[in-house]
């Protein structure tokens, strides 16, 4: 009973880190969403406390908002003590989630007709902690209006009432006044946030190139990177995605520039850790193509892990499934001979072996798992070599990421920057003897999470 619970929790953590409800290489949007929603219902119904505790971990925003929504929708099933703790964790977590997702969550709560006192309190408190309510009113006008209307909250700023729900001839707040003027004055558009200004530019039929040049100071960092990338400032995994989106010829021409940017990003992500001898098995088979919404995501994670491990390790042996030696020119092709590559990695006599792969071992099927199993039982029973499998893709049939074998811990990975923390978590799960340890660990994480806030 205990070990099942612990397994379920780990399965959920992996799923919540990797699943985004988007199409993947092997499964469609419908399959991903169905599988994920079943998993959430299962966890909520059976392990409400652990489900709540996941909010304190490094899961992605998509799953965090789903957890919050389901906890609030089913508030009637919780005890008062549970509700109190949930409220604390939810409030803290929502402050870390991107604002557009939080507003979308409020919309979903409204559609689900969830309107108890606690929900209203959470929404009110979140809006109250927003640094600039007028800015939110302009950028997320519809969503803020719905949220205020749903919770019967007085707007935090006294001009927001007329702005959102009525009209006024003149506003004292600068950004609201700019928004009003942008309806008829073109110069005012360039002082509004990018997404709002885009709509007005279309209305005034401004030339796109001209518009983008002049709006550049108003874009958020991410928006600017989408239009024109600045590779010296990008985080590692995003930079790896960018590199993979360039054609091979361009990557070859800009080799020095891109490699130094990747190494710099890896050094920033490394922190103070230092590992000994590391061998990595990196998957660049055809299935790392991902899908149209997650283009080459698994390969980007593998590439980012490659550079991060190069920075972390004293001695590093990279082994790509396609046999390539030049990672900068990587592209998804070939089959997945994980078994053979793992043998190559083990033969280089490392201290650690890291496998970054979606687990669809097919040359031949199941060989990787068998090699690892026999290695653990017969060749290295004292566990001198530590092996961890990092998997960036959620598998719909397993309700988890695909595992190679029970004797090697598998963790879901979203960004390569989390690699040291994930490997630590993997080793913790390997030495796990019971549910008590896991619960203690989660309680500790939750406590630290709330204290940081």
């Amino acid at each position: 009973m205990d070990s099942t619970t612990a397994e379920d929790m780990l399965m959920f953590v992996n799923a919540a880190t990797t699943a985004t409800g988007q199409r993947e290489f092997h499964s469609s949007v419908g399959q991903q969403r169905l599988s994920l929603s079943f998993l959430h219902e299962y966890m909520l119904g059976n392990y409400r406390d652990l489900y709540r505790a996941a909010l304190a971990l490094d899961i992605n925003d998509h799953n965090a908002t789903i957890i919050v929504r389901r906890l609030l929708e089913t508030a009637a099933e919780a005890t008062p003590e549970q509700r109190r703790r949930e409220g604390q964790l939810i409030a803290r977590r929502l402050r870390l989630v991107a604002p557009q997702r939080v507003y979308d969550l409020f919309r979903q709560l409204r559609r689900a007709r969830v309107n108890n006192r606690r929900t209203r309190g959470i929404i009110r408190d979140w809006i109250a902690t927003r640094p600039d309510p007028a800015f939110d009113a302009v950028k997320y006008r519809g969503a803020l209006k719905e949220a205020l209307r749903h919770t019967h909250t007085v707007p935090p700023h006294d001009e927001l009432g007329p702005f959102l729900f009525g009209q006024q001839a003149h506003y004292r707040t600068p950004i609201l006044e700019t928004w009003r003027r942008a309806h008829y004055e073109q110069a005012a558009i360039y002082e509004l946030p990018y997404t709002v200004a885009e709509g007005f530019a279309a209305k005034h039929r401004i030339d796109r190139k001209l518009f983008l040049e002049r709006i550049a100071p108003r874009m958020t960092r991410l928006e600017r990177q989408r239009i024109q990338a600045d590779i010296t400032q990008m985080p590692l995994t995003r930079l790896a995605s960018y590199v993979l989106s360039l054609p091979i010829a361009e990557r070859r021409d800009r080799r020095a520039e891109l490699t130094s940017a990747l190494r710099a990003a890896a050094a920033r992500a490394r922190g103070q850790e230092k590992w000994g001898k590391v061998a990595a098995v990196l998957d660049d088979s055809y299935s790392t193509l991902g899908s149209i919404h997650k283009r080459r995501r698994p390969l980007a994670v593998a590439l980012a892990c490659h550079y991060l491990l190069e920075a972390l390790a004293d001695s590093y042996v990279p082994l790509w499934t396609s046999g390539r030696t030049d990672p900068l020119l990587a592209y998804p092709h070939g089959a997945t001979p994980l078994g053979d590559r793992i043998l190559d990695a083990l033969e280089s006599e490392p201290d650690r072996v890291l496998i970054v792969s979606d687990g669809w071992d097919n040359a031949p099927y199941g060989l990787a798992g068998e090699v690892l199993r026999v290695f653990r039982t017969n060749v290295d029973p004292e566990r001198k070599v530590s092996v961890v499998h990092l998997n960036p893709v959620y598998d719909v049939d397993d309700f988890d990421v695909k595992r190679l074998t029970p004797s090697v811990p598998t963790v879901g990975v979203r960004d390569a920057e989390d690699l040291p923390a994930l490997v630590e978590f993997a080793r913790f799960t390997e030495g796990l003897t019971g549910l008590g340890q896991l619960t203690a660990h989660l309680d500790d994480r939750a406590r630290r999470f709330l204290e940081d806030g």
Partner: protein, 390 residues
């Protein structure tokens, strides 16, 4: 003769649903022959195979083979798309081709894959009875077997095949594939060069597949993956582990070559040459039409040693095998029904009815056929005639 797939190694299969795809990898690609595709579109293709015979089918693409005589690498072209303006919507679009295999340049020949093989099957004894025995109808004497038609399903109709092909990860150096649906061999496809294979892998979705394959795909459950299993008993070091892993690969290869593909590779075929291209020969083959066995038709290009450079096969359904079997038996006995029947161990009437159920009823004279029917009814009265004796 048998098919010779030397130079091609079997690699582990990839399974998706009920479809198992087994890759074939060449150690050394054949560089002096290259294939590329010409895409035609969705029009119905009409081919004049000889001055008096037309062949009509779904012909979405043709293959163009380029070769060199002296063993140097042949030129590789990409896929060509033959565009035509869109016809008015009330017309049925047709595209006319001259000959199944036609020379387009000094060292290039365009042939229509899959259709080359099927036409060979349809043309089997197409002339009909050579001797005017009394049982054959006027139509059989004057027109032979014309019109001779068969049905097949396009790959996109085969449930699960499109997904399996999309998800398949192509091995480096892969030059061929064997497609198994519900573990029945549906088709084999081999090309000379890995780059050609990459370009032509997706054309498998436009190929024709027999009725048997269609039914197996629709009705089958997902097939089991063959999982590698290592027994840890003799493993102490990494070298032992690697040897055990290698043994698994060898075991799969041997199992596949001896058991799964035996229906195709162990059978004997009647090979007819279609075109000679330098040191290569384009031919098509027919099986011996043994009932209760796999019967594959296909086309292939062999080099001077008889090794396969290009292969494409089609699996006949049971009905199609039966038709081929009957035609072959009749032809062996100069179209004399009584001696054919005696050789098969049935009466003439039974043979006549078998021909009718196979679809060749129009070859027999009406009155002869009616006689056969009444004779069989006499010998096996229907249950309606039997009344309980009171």
């Amino acid at each position: 003769m048998k098919l010779d797939l030397t130079g091609l190694t079997t690699r582990p299969a990839q399974v998706w649903g009920g479809v198992r795809l087994v890759p074939l990898v060449r150690d050394e690609p054949v560089t002096s022959l290259r294939l590329h595709a010409q895409i035609y579109g969705q029009e119905v293709g009409v081919v004049d195979v000889d001055p008096r015979t037309y062949y009509t089918s779904y012909i979405p693409h043709g293959f163009v083979a380029t070769w060199t005589d002296d063993g140097t690498p042949a030129a590789a072209y990409g896929t060509e798309i033959m565009r035509t303006e869109a016809p008015p919507s009330h017309c049925m679009p047709l595209r006319f081709h001259r000959r199944m295999a036609k020379r387009t340049d000094k060292d290039r020949v365009r042939f229509l894959p899959m259709n080359l093989a099927i036409e060979g099957y349809l043309a089997l004894h197409f002339g009909g009875p050579q001797v005017v025995w009394e049982q054959w109808s006027q139509r059989a004497i004057s027109n032979g077997l014309s019109p001779r038609e068969e049905e097949a399903y396009v790959g996109s109709e085969i449930r699960g095949l499109a997904d399996a092909l999309r998800i398949f990860e192509i091995h480096p150096g892969q030059c061929g594939m064997l497609i198994y649906v519900a573990d029945a061999l549906a088709a084999a496809f081999v090309v000379p060069h890995p780059d050609d294979y990459r370009a032509l892998h997706a054309t498998a979705i436009e190929d024709l597949y027999g009725e048997l394959i269609y039914h197996y795909a629709t009705l089958s459950m997902p097939v089991q993956q063959f999982r590698a299993q290592l027994s840890g008993s003799h493993v102490r070091t990494l070298a032992d582990l690697r040897a055990a892993a290698r043994a698994q690969t060898v075991a799969w290869r041997e199992f596949h070559d001896s058991t799964m593909s035996a229906g195709l590779l162990a059978a004997h075929y009647d090979v007819r040459r279609v075109y000679k291209m330098g040191e290569f020969t384009l031919s098509r083959f027919l099986p011996t039409f043994q009932l209760k066995q796999e019967n594959h038709i296909g086309e292939l290009i062999t080099d001077h040693r008889g090794q396969t450079a290009y292969l494409k096969t089609f699996r006949l359904s049971d009905a199609q095998s039966r038709r081929g079997y009957l035609l072959t038996q009749l032809a062996n006995h100069d179209w004399h029904l009584p001696s054919t029947a005696a050789d098969l161990g049935v009466t003439e009437a039974q043979l006549g009815l078998r021909m009718e159920s196979a679809g060749f009823g129009s070859l027999l004279r009406e009155d002869i056929l009616a006689h056969y029917r009444s004779v069989s009814r006499e010998r096996s009265p229907s249950n309606m005639d039997r009344r309980p004796k009171s």
